[in-house]
């Protein structure tokens, strides 16, 4: 019976998204309640599905009753379960957070549309994770890309529109690369169903066409995951989007690019040509780590710092994946979890600060830690795990990445990982200095003005994310229930 939850997790959010405009004419709070209920349903069914995966490793579902190569099959295995749990929980938290935020920051007419797009984004990502067929994956890639372009531009400012247009251009080009890659793979093998495709590719010699197809698709997902040379769109898009949206974008959407890369590298290619791809992409990841952190150091708009830091943190994840070793992959997946929890908590806190205090620049945020103590505790926990201090999940992922790099004998990669985390620590301390250890400049807005009470709707999601990153921080072993079999499964696919 629980196999049906596989399809319902995807279709329920998308169907509710179509219902919202109809209902919101009479009942103006429809948007929020429908969105939260749909995402609650998806989160519940995600838990049930992960339970199913724990029991028997891989759940498959033939949509429409047709056998796989002819019909479409959606499946969930260990890696999918890890990403599905992350996606559904984060979307639910952000949906609940955005109730008050949206009323304060968006015009009334756009609020139902915000929730429609939020549901489409969440449903698109969940569908992307479950897709078993490359073209199905491409369509879900389109769904969550289109909705994230719109969500970036929803606040209507000229700057955010320009940033979102640049994001749209690069996203469309990356989706065309994926389509071209699919075309090449289809012409070589004749099927779109991934396991069969992988089997057929395994037989063919490693010709130029396969290398081209992989390069195209990996570059496309590289654009989506904002890997170093292809990350130009990210700082503008993530910093100008409304805060709950940038939390989802930084926390989840760029992880979908990473998931896509995993799917291509391990499921379709089976790790073939990993030596040459690995070398190139780990070089790009290494530059991403350093350049992203340096740019983050230079900025003083709080959301711009976090946007650049996302570019650098994604470098860690991709470095981990392209090491093709147990510890590398474990470190990469752990960094996905750590960055998702920490970065979304940080963006949500920044959202509260900006909407309550109205400041974005660090100078204006002097000493705010003392006036919003409860919020700032979670802010510091998230910063600590971003900077990978001991007893945080960031430390465990940094440890495994170093181990993976040293195991392959590439000391310079381990050095880059450590240098990157040192630079991350620098800008985290820079923020902490301003927030806790600086007296508010007297001239700005009456220093000691106490800010309006932060509503529980906003505090609960931040609290859950902060507590989650603390729990996973102290016991990273908890997440290994999913990560260990996932990584072993992936390595098993490498022929």
């Amino acid at each position: 019976m629980e196999k049906h939850f596989l399809i319902l997790t995807v279709t329920v959010p998308l169907a509710t998204a179509t219902l919202i405009p109809l209902l919101s004419i009479r009942w103006e709070r429809a948007g929020f309640w429908l969105a939260s209920l749909a995402l609650l349903f998806s989160f519940g069914s995600a838990l049930i599905l992960v339970g199913g995966v724990l029991v028997d490793g891989r759940i498959a579902y033939h949509v429409g009753g047709w056998a796989p190569p002819w019909g479409i099959e959606i499946f969930l295995d260990w890696v999918g379960a890890f990403f599905l749990l992350l996606a559904s929980s984060l979307s639910l938290a952000v949906a609940i957070f955005s109730r008050i935020y949206v009323e304060q920051n968006l015009e009334a007419s756009k609020i139902p549309l915000f929730y429609v797009l939020l549901l489409l984004l969440a449903g698109g990502m969940i569908g992307f994770i479950l897709a078993g067929d490359i073209f199905n994956m491409f369509i879900f890639f389109e769904i969550f890309s289109l909705s994230s372009y719109a969500l970036v531009a929803i606040s209507g400012g000229l700057e955010s529109l320009k940033a979102s247009f640049r994001y749209l251009l690069m996203g469309t080009i990356s989706s065309l690369f994926v389509l071209l890659g699919i075309g090449l793979l289809y012409s070589l093998t004749g099927t779109l169903y991934m396991p069969l495709l992988a089997q057929e590719l395994g037989v063919l010699p490693y010709s130029g066409a396969i290398r081209a197809a992989t390069a195209l698709i990996l570059v496309a997902f590289g654009i989506e995951a904002a890997l170093f040379p292809l990350h130009v769109w990210l700082p503008g898009a993530h910093s100008l989007a409304p805060s709950p949206v940038s939390a989802l974008l930084s926390g989840l959407v760029i992880k979908m690019g990473v998931y896509g890369m995993i799917k291509v590298l391990f499921y379709i290619l089976g790790g073939r040509g990993s030596s040459e791809i690995g070398a190139l992409f780990s070089l790009m990841a290494a530059t991403a780590i350093i350049v992203g952190a340096l740019f983050a150091l230079r900025e003083n708009d709080i959301k711009l710092i976090f946007a650049h830091s996302s570019v650098s943190q994604i470098g860690y994840v991709i470095l981990g994946i392209y090491l093709f070793s147990y510890f590398g992959l474990a470190g990469g997946l752990l960094q996905v979890l750590n960055h998702a929890l920490a970065k979304s908590a940080l963006f949500l806190c920044a959202g509260v600060v900006i909407s309550q205090a109205g400041f974005r620049r660090l100078e204006d945020l002097r000493g705010i830690g003392r006036r919003m103590p409860f919020l700032m505790v979670f802010f510091t926990i998230a910063l600590a795990s971003l900077a990978s201090l001991p007893f945080t999940c960031g430390f465990a992922s940094k440890y495994y990445l170093c181990k993976g790099a040293i195991e392959r004998g590439e000391f310079w990669l381990a050095g880059i990982v450590l240098l990157g985390s040192f630079l991350t620590l620098l800008y985290c301390v820079k923020i902490v200095n301003y927030i806790f250890f600086a007296t508010p400049a007297v001239g700005r807005g009456g220093g000691e003005r106490s800010y309006p009470e932060v509503s529980p709707w906003m505090m609960v999601p931040i609290g859950v994310l902060g507590f989650g990153s603390l729990l996973v921080g102290i016991f990273p072993g908890l997440s290994f229930i999913l990560i260990k079999p996932a990584v072993l499964g992936l390595l098993g696919m490498v022929r």
């Binding site: 429409g64 190569p69 002819w70 959606i74 007419s109 369509i139 879900f140 066409a209």
Partner: protein
């Protein structure tokens, strides 16, 4: 400078692509893997299993119905996104200074619009046997309405097809797919199984469901495209 950079990047990428393309199997010969692995079953059993003579519609609706549902979701997302950016045209559209074209043009349009609509309806409903289909029919409906709007003005069209109706139509495709899917689960099979023969539904009922889906796709895509056009056509007041 930007142009030179672009040309250099493109020539690099071009060489890479052309090299890849040349090593692909020859175009069009029957022994290609594309013609031998998955497709033969569609061509041989397609007619019997889905009752559609046009294999493309068969695949579209029955074998890969999930993809079509998601394709309609993409259309809906595009509309929602455009609305989020431009904001839906206000119900009482502005009285823009619109000059009616000459009588001759209006007469031609009045005669042809019903004909085009009939043709569009034909294209939607005969997707099974001829090379038509829900989506193409929907676009033709949208084009006819756009011609009507260009000739008779936005107010005239909005009076005929109000935003409320369009909003319902836009969501109709996805909801009908959802209903058909849930019906499949209710009858004990998988999602969207009702579009396949395995459940032992009577042949007539299955074809009726396929037709329902086809028509809902047509109407929905038509409504979405009309709304997109109204969004862009709306002239900012003042």
């Amino acid at each position: 400078m930007k142009k030179l950079g672009a040309i250099f990047l493109l020539s690099l990428c071009g060489l890479f692509l052309l090299a890849a393309v040349t090593s692909l199997p020859r175009m069009g010969d029957p022994e290609n893997p594309t013609n031998s692995l998955v497709v033969p079953r569609y061509l041989e059993k397609g007619l019997r299993e889905t009752g559609c003579r046009n294999t493309v519609t068969a695949i579209l609706l029955s074998y890969r119905g999930y993809d079509t549902m998601m394709e309609m979701v993409v259309l809906f997302t595009a509309l929602a996104a455009a609305l989020a950016i431009l904001g839906r045209e206000s119900l009482e559209t502005c009285c823009e200074t619109f000059v009616l074209p000459s009588l001759l043009v209006r007469m031609v349009v009045v005669i042809f619009v019903p004909l085009f609509l009939a043709f569009a309806l034909y294209v939607i409903t005969h997707g099974f046997t001829t090379s038509g289909g829900g989506f193409q029919g929907g676009v033709i409906v949208a084009t006819t309405v756009i011609i009507y709007t260009l000739v008779f003005g936005l107010d005239e069209m909005v009076k005929r097809i109000s935003p409320g109706v369009r909003m319902v139509l836009e969501s109709s495709a996805i909801l009908s797919f959802m209903l058909v899917g849930l019906l499949g689960i209710a009858l004990g099979g998988n999602f969207l199984i009702t579009t396949t023969p395995t459940l032992g539904l009577s042949d007539f009922l299955r074809r009726a469901i396929l037709l329902l889906l086809e028509v809902s796709i047509g109407l929905a895509s038509g409504a979405v495209i009309i709304s997109l056009f109204c969004l862009l056509k709306k002239v900012e007041r003042g």
